[in-house]
Symmetry: C2
Subunit: 224 residues, 2 copies
Amino acid sequence: IVTLRAVTREYSGGVVALSDVNLDIENGELLAIVGPSGSGKSTMLNVMGTLDRPSSGQVVVDGFDLADLSDREVSALRAFRIGFVFQQFHLAPGTSALDNVADGLLYTGIGRKERRERAEAALQRVDLGHRLTHRPHELSGGEKQRTAIARAVVREPTLLLADEPTGALDSHSGEGVMRLLLDLNETGTTVVVITHERMVASSLPRQVTMLDGEVVDDRKMAVA
Amino acid sequence: IVTLRAVTREYSGGVVALSDVNLDIENGELLAIVGPSGSGKSTMLNVMGTLDRPSSGQVVVDGFDLADLSDREVSALRAFRIGFVFQQFHLAPGTSALDNVADGLLYTGIGRKERRERAEAALQRVDLGHRLTHRPHELSGGEKQRTAIARAVVREPTLLLADEPTGALDSHSGEGVMRLLLDLNETGTTVVVITHERMVASSLPRQVTMLDGEVVDDRKMAVA
Ligand SMILES: Nc1ncnc2c1ncn2[C@@H]1O[C@H](COP(=O)(O)OP(=O)(O)OP(=O)(O)O)[C@@H](O)[C@H]1O
Ligand SMILES: Nc1ncnc2c1ncn2[C@@H]1O[C@H](COP(=O)(O)OP(=O)(O)OP(=O)(O)O)[C@@H](O)[C@H]1O
Ligand SMILES: [Mg+2]
Ligand SMILES: [Mg+2]
């Protein structure tokens, strides 16, 4: 569902965030991306998720070579197919947790009442049924993270890209989130998780390791 | 250096973030605050750090009962004595990593050239010597976190309050940060670390456990 070929991403000033990356992800896979701080994980996720274009190389998502699509077509592909959990959540500030999640279903043809029902169910799934009306500044760090997760999963995307989804969570909430992602994967969603937690990484069937902008290891393991 | 007596913090809407908290921290201690997401850890840290006033109860910092101080006196106490690492970093957006950290030394009587030298040394200490000129949007999640840590430690505060300082870091960078905090503690700084990582918590001599706004356990352990 995602193919990166010789992808390089360089920033002005000479920082090479990605260097000649090759990666193939099959539809329905579940994998972890690991590596030190600054090694290019978030950059690679953004390129996979069409949020960033590489300096060189080819990116194919869901069968489409991104170089052949207009910006408008890329936006549509992203909106309909890809769900994101960002490293810093990016929730809408003045908006309740419920509406933040419900807005994840805008433009899907689902009516307002049902969007809110599905949003409530998603929030209950991450144990935030008691925080529906809180706005982001009224939520703890881990509650913001769980709200961002609920928003990403509520539209059951084809591809879910999660950047450190358990970074702000204690082990109990973190396990709950990983169970949710596993369940999503079982219903067909391709799930890619950036994580620096080895427990999380080793519980997934495949680990891609990055170092200094390169993929240095890519292995399938028996699930721990 | 910090005493909380019967501290309660209630938000409008009825959420009780802290409930009858009693806590004594001696000068020079090193401890971890642990507990599930939403249990009140950040709220307690903000109260200890004078960023938030309790709904009821007494807060004594560095010998001063905060209820006796004017807002201006509280600000001065905080600026001179307390260093913070926030759960979401709060770096100044248009400003380089170097200046973000150097600004941590403003109003200390240290001249600009020396502020920048000390800032550079602090950033090198967290392995960011190669990112001095990058602004926050040009830094990875873990690099932002390390910049926030450098800014908090550069003025060698009396009391350092760190909210999930290794949350965005791989194990190698995370260990580096913990070594930095241990070194700071050895030179006399009282260090309080909120963490959801058990490895980090068990490596510190005391663990305070929170649940639903209450302190449910407070124990000194032999260091692992
Ligand atoms: N302004 C607010 N209004 C209402 N409730 C709030 C507000 N700020 C925080 N809360 C609630 O207070 C509780 C404690 O928040 P706090 O940030 O202290 O938790 P925490 O232990 O730091 O959690 P985490 O591990 O997720 O960071 C949370 O359940 C949160 O929803
Ligand atoms: N706009 C930018 N300009 C210059 N350099 C940048 C920019 N954005 C990111 N970088 C650099 O690119 C490198 C890779 O960043 P990226 O965010 O992908 O790392 P990461 O592996 O996600 O790190 P972390 O684990 O800390 O989140 C970092 O060293 C960072 O400093
Ligand atoms: Mg990142
Ligand atoms: Mg918190």
